[in-house]
Symmetry: C3
Amino acid sequence: MMGRTLVIGGARSGKSAYAKALAESVAEHRVFIATAEPIDLEMEERIARHRADRDRTWSTVEEPVELIDAIAAHASSDRSVLVDCLTLWLSNLLHRGRDVESAAGGLVSGLTSLQGHVILVSNEVGLGLVPDNPAGRVFRDAQGRLNQDVAAVCDRVYLVTAGLPLLLKG
Amino acid sequence: MMGRTLVIGGARSGKSAYAKALAESVAEHRVFIATAEPIDLEMEERIARHRADRDRTWSTVEEPVELIDAIAAHASSDRSVLVDCLTLWLSNLLHRGRDVESAAGGLVSGLTSLQGHVILVSNEVGLGLVPDNPAGRVFRDAQGRLNQDVAAVCDRVYLVTAGLPLLLKG
Amino acid sequence: MMGRTLVIGGARSGKSAYAKALAESVAEHRVFIATAEPIDLEMEERIARHRADRDRTWSTVEEPVELIDAIAAHASSDRSVLVDCLTLWLSNLLHRGRDVESAAGGLVSGLTSLQGHVILVSNEVGLGLVPDNPAGRVFRDAQGRLNQDVAAVCDRVYLVTAGLPLLLKG
């Protein structure tokens, strides 16, 4: 179970819980990299609820933008690093006007040179109708490309539906 | 093929037809529990069309809210009970201001104590962009949690795409 | 690998690239049937980008509406025909007020009488919330039925997520 794992799923699919269980199965020390920013009450409550779900074998790092730096700073062969999630990270990049293609390229190349267990959670958002607004289409396209690029450098990829993982690669 | 089966799919994925075929393969007597309410012409036509698809080996029960009571009243080892679908049931609960968490808990615990073949149809709705409006997000979250909770107590779970079932559990 | 193949996926799922690789693996001569119409700049750029991805072993045919005629005119046992995609074709039919059911029926019956490798790309659009507007619901329903009908006459059906194919049939 060494290496990089991508866990893809929809909203409330159980992807985070599955990724957490994976992270706990591979190492006794775990680092949770949260990309969420507490910009409103709904998000604050969600972050607090997720934090309460993790016990003391976990340490939590908040990093909304410089993701590969945070992963590289914590990855090592005796612990697992869980990134939750790439979708909020992408959203943070777009809101700040960052160059998404360049950031995604940096993440992908950085991931391939790391040691240790890295588990990344991401949303699939492309299975509805075409969004009405251009910003929605830009986000959807960027998320789809990011999932493809990260999946290509992962050893295992799971699609989670109703809490049930389906192995797509590995 | 005894036990509980969840059939998940998108809109017009063929999930209802697949669930119906499953129900017909396990028992000669079948009960269809319809959660749809004919609130408009579009829905009335859909209900009539679905009813016309079922022959006389089926009896139909309409129950928009008190779902586990309807299932319990009809489940037995010599017949199959098909619930179509959990998504409309959830929508009915929310429109009435019912406590969804409590209703979902009652459904799940009730299901585990029943005898017979019970097949439940549900939508996956979490694979598009984040909905613009809070009500959409509430619905999406509730549907995702309900699917996870029901899947956890089912013996078999299928994901249907373009009429083709994929076994997720069982 | 003779016969008909349907490749289903979401937006930016990698479905087109996977279908292209399939088409290249089965025959040295390939015909690309593009259903896209360059109605705006966004679409023009996308079409040009896709065309640039294909080398000289490919010839390109643009046919937004009379799809089965275009397929029949090019299908033969020594080449592969790639249709990209059924979703834009469906959209073109609806915009022109064509009878979708009849056109879909013509496509399906035409496909079953052809020789050669035909690979069709289509979107899954039914895994989000119910669309707010009737036109969106009509499109989603028509796309779901079309995917079911085409899948039923294909020898192989794949669902592509993050560039990774999952065999649903075949």
